[in-house]
């Protein structure tokens, strides 16, 4: 006889589960730091999470060695990605199974995502950099949700920490993205790519027109020429501001996520932080997609011809 089920389990089991979770939340709420503040006294021993501390700079877990914990996390991310792709592409089969199938899905989705706006030829150029950035950021964000990150300590400092909560890593990624965008611009357009930034053409034409006698068209062209030069200056500025914005978007999102989880752990130690863990996993993916996608978008804008 089929029993009535909700969310994959019997109704009474579901109700018991919800009640247990609510009880855990209430217990940790009252027994934790909030309850201690309201009712006075100390929080219960097993619910006493230390006050969250945030250090903007990455810590050095090994004294004397210039290795920070974010560097270690970045290396581990690279190793994990390398190992994953190495293991997945060892014995390649025509009909993929298991890990190879999963990796092919990822790579193919990225390739389609990139070739859609960029086209076949330019998509080939953009694919390695954009996909690498995406994979690095998303692997880094998801690895930092593994228990042990920020909790295992060496010499009193956490051994591992999400690499993108260190301002240097997003800045490095932003510089890489900037350099590649400019490189692709020159590769696609040659030296005429410089015209995007230093556009003296319309002004020169207007001056020529004035001297050859067509003063009226020349004067109206003069205004356009000056505007074109200013547009070039704005373009230069926007290319540099883009780097800052790239950096702080990723850094801010990752740091805010880390602090959010820390504060939720401090306030309500049980059940509720898991929700924020899920949120963090989602945001890690979205931010990685945005970093890769924006690099792609700017690259498309750089290689697109004006005509």
């Amino acid at each position: 006889m089929a029993r009535k089920t909700t969310c994959g389990c019997a109704l009474n089991v579901l109700i018991i589960g919800i009640v247990v979770f609510l009880a855990l939340i209430v217990v940790s709420f009252i027994g934790g730091n909030i309850g201690a503040t309201i009712f006075g006294g100390e929080p219960l021993g097993f619910l006493n999470v230390g006050v969250p501390e945030y250090h903007p700079a990455a810590e050095h877990p090994f004294h004397g060695l210039p290795i920070t914990n974010t560097m270690l996390a970045a290396w581990i991310t690279i190793l994990v990605l390398f190992g994953l792709f190495f293991a997945g592409t060892r014995k390649m089969k025509l009909v993929p199974t298991g890990l190879q199938s999963f990796l092919e899905i990822v790579v193919e989705a990225a390739a389609n995502f990139i070739e859609d706006p960029a086209g076949k030829k330019h998509g080939r150029w953009f694919f390695p950099v954009c996909t690498t950035i995406f994979l690095f950021v998303v692997a880094n964000a998801w690895l930092s949700l593994v228990p042990g990150f920020e909790t295992i300590t060496v010499n009193g400092e956490p051994l591992l920490r999400n690499a993108n909560t260190d301002l240097n890593v997003p800045a490095a990624l932003a510089v890489v993205s900037f350099c590649f965008v400019e490189y692709w611009g020159f590769k696609a357009k040659g030296n005429s790519y410089l015209k995007t930034f230093f556009n003296f053409g319309p002004l020169g034409q207007a001056i020529k027109q004035i001297f050859t006698g067509r003063i009226k068209t020349g004067l109206s062209g003069l205004v356009n020429g000056v505007i074109a030069i200013f547009a070039g200056i704005l373009e230069i500025l926007s290319h540099f501001i883009r780097m800052v914005s790239f950096t702080f978007r990723l850094f801010g999102n990752m740091t805010a996520g880390m602090i959010l989880v820390m504060i939720m752990l401090f306030l309500i130690p049980w059940v509720l932080p898991s929700v924020f863990y899920g949120l963090e996993a989602f945001f890690g993916f979205v931010q990685a997609m945005i970093f890769g996608g924006l690099t792609l978008g700017f690259a498309c804008a750089a290689v697109m011809s004006e005509e």
């Binding site: 501390e53 945030y54 250090h55 903007p56 914005s245 702080f248 978007r249 850094f251 801010g252 999102n253 740091t255 805010a256 602090i259 979205v286 931010q287 997609m289 945005i290 996608g293």
Partner: protein, 80 residues
Amino acid sequence: MDTQIWSDLAKFIAIGFCAGFGALGPGIGIGLIGWGAMNALGRNPEARGPIMTNMILAIAFAEAVAIYALVVAILLIFVA
């Protein structure tokens, strides 16, 4: 002692204003994005996939501005 209280007061007011006003603009922006996406969805329900993807992308952009304000607020709390 007195100056300590005043500087703490200034700090907390600054943090509150920073986070509050910083969240105001992006909130409006995300609302507008959702409005636009719902309109598009109502007119063209088959295009659900692309609309959702682009909506999430645009929301992330708007949200990034709030995150900038949040970064400033966090720095004020922990560093200032």
